[in-house]
Amino acid sequence: MSSPVEPGLKSAAKLAAAVRAGESSAADALAASSAVIADRDEEVHAFLHLMTERAEAQAAAVDAKIAAGEDAGPLAGVPIALKDNMCTRGAPTTCSSKILEGWHPPYDATVIGRLEAAGAIMVGKTNLDEFAMGSSTENSAFGPTRNPLDTSRVPGGSSGGSAAAVAAGYVPLSLGSDTGGSIRQPAALCGVVGVKPTYGAVSRYGLIAFASSLDQIGPFAHTVEDAALCFDVISGHDQLDATSIPEPLAPTLPNLHDGVEGVRVGIIDELMGEGIEPDVRRRTEQAAEALAAAGAIVDTVSVPATIYGLAAYYLIAPAEASSNLARYDGVRYGQRVDGANVATMNTNTRSAGFGDEVKRRIMLGTYALSSGYYDAYYGKAQRVRTLISNEFDAAYENFDLLLSPTSPSTAFELGAKSDPMSLYMCDVCTIPSNLAGHPAMSVPFGVGDDGLPVGVQVLGPMLQEPRMFQAAQVLENAAASGGAA
């Protein structure tokens, strides 16, 4: 399936090169992006807010730099969309929640400063499931986002707006956040590349917290190269995030085309069985064959504890969320619904401001952390987290990378998964990497029986992004040359 994409907006690397060479301008790139958005976003609803003034000023600054013969950066003139859970100074940041409506953060997230320094143009803020809790972007206080490839379908979630913004050709790059699959699953459903980096590789300063020990920012792109380019720009130590990895990280772009000759790749047995649609499984097997054809040594590997990932995640993430979301008390930011005293005001504000899924997870997390249940729920889930991490470590003694489907199915119809548990199941393949803190990414690899894109997930051990991107590049090449036909 093809999307109505402006060719110039499909490749960030090519666009930046053209802008840097003076063949195109940042202002033209922004105008092209704005035109596509104006044409199509009423239907898709990827954006909650456009940052027009700031974008125009950024574009003018980039063009002035180039006119003055200065280096405008590796992303010069590239329009970028940001998930609306990243703080943008002076521009609305809602997390798709009524409780933050009208709030204008007094600071920028670290990633935004890094993108700006690299010459990127921030065009706007994208829709998400409220506070990033969901897998379809239907659960936004401001209405759902639709999949640009088939608007009767969801784009996945929770970063559905950022995935759709790239898939629809609005922007060549966007940022999402991934707590249990919220970048990789929508990337798979929208047919784009999506990366969840190693925990701590990208600063979380200014990313509004959902589950702090799992959250990680990462890019969406049409190509593996663009995703690598963006990752290299946004990653690296930040003193403002205490969980940021202090050691220098290896860049991914220089060795992107090194291939997979001799690389050992394990297909995760437990993620290829029941619950995964046969067409998705078939594409994953084809992807493994493509890696083997490029010289990789491919085998299956058992990581038994991955099947417990979902259960552990739905205790850990709500527990951390219940703590993180305690700050929405009607005192410092966003909406307040008044009451006769502080406690009543807090309750009135939170009851009116949060949607049902957020309330469910806060209650679940409060319960899992409460006296008498802590060891049975939260404590046990944290031990399972160690178990999964240990089993991954054991698998990586024999393999360099692992492979699995990204999502159990292709994009489903809006409204098709109305009970919480069936939506939670969407993340079964992606959650284990968040629990272990490892990098993982989704690469488009052909289509399913319904003609909609299938994503294949490449998983790596801690900080092995360079090798993960190399394998993803091989898959992209194979898909382009008919390996996913």
């Binding site: 417990y308 259960a311 219940s322 305690a326 005192v331 209650m363 889930a381 031990r383 399972v384 629990l435």
Partner: protein, 100 residues
Amino acid sequence: MSGEISRDEVAHVASLARLSVTDDELTTFTDQLCVVLETAAQLNALDLDDVEPMAQPYPLANVLRVDEIVPSLDRDEVLSQAPAAEEGRFRVPPALGEAP
């Protein structure tokens, strides 16, 4: 863990989390939370006695910086985003008793 949560427990948890729920919502939330907790009960099958809990994935401890004064957020800009502020502070209703 039994994998179940009673209606009364859900009501208690909601009040701890400063959420008010209607009777209908209480019924729905209780049913939904029971399903999630039943799934969580799968973890009972695992022998975890010798496994240490993991709080976060990357082994960092005592992250410190030099104790120097550095610029912080602009107070007026921060307060301009609060629902109510007065004399450089956030303003809230009375913590004890009720507003007159």
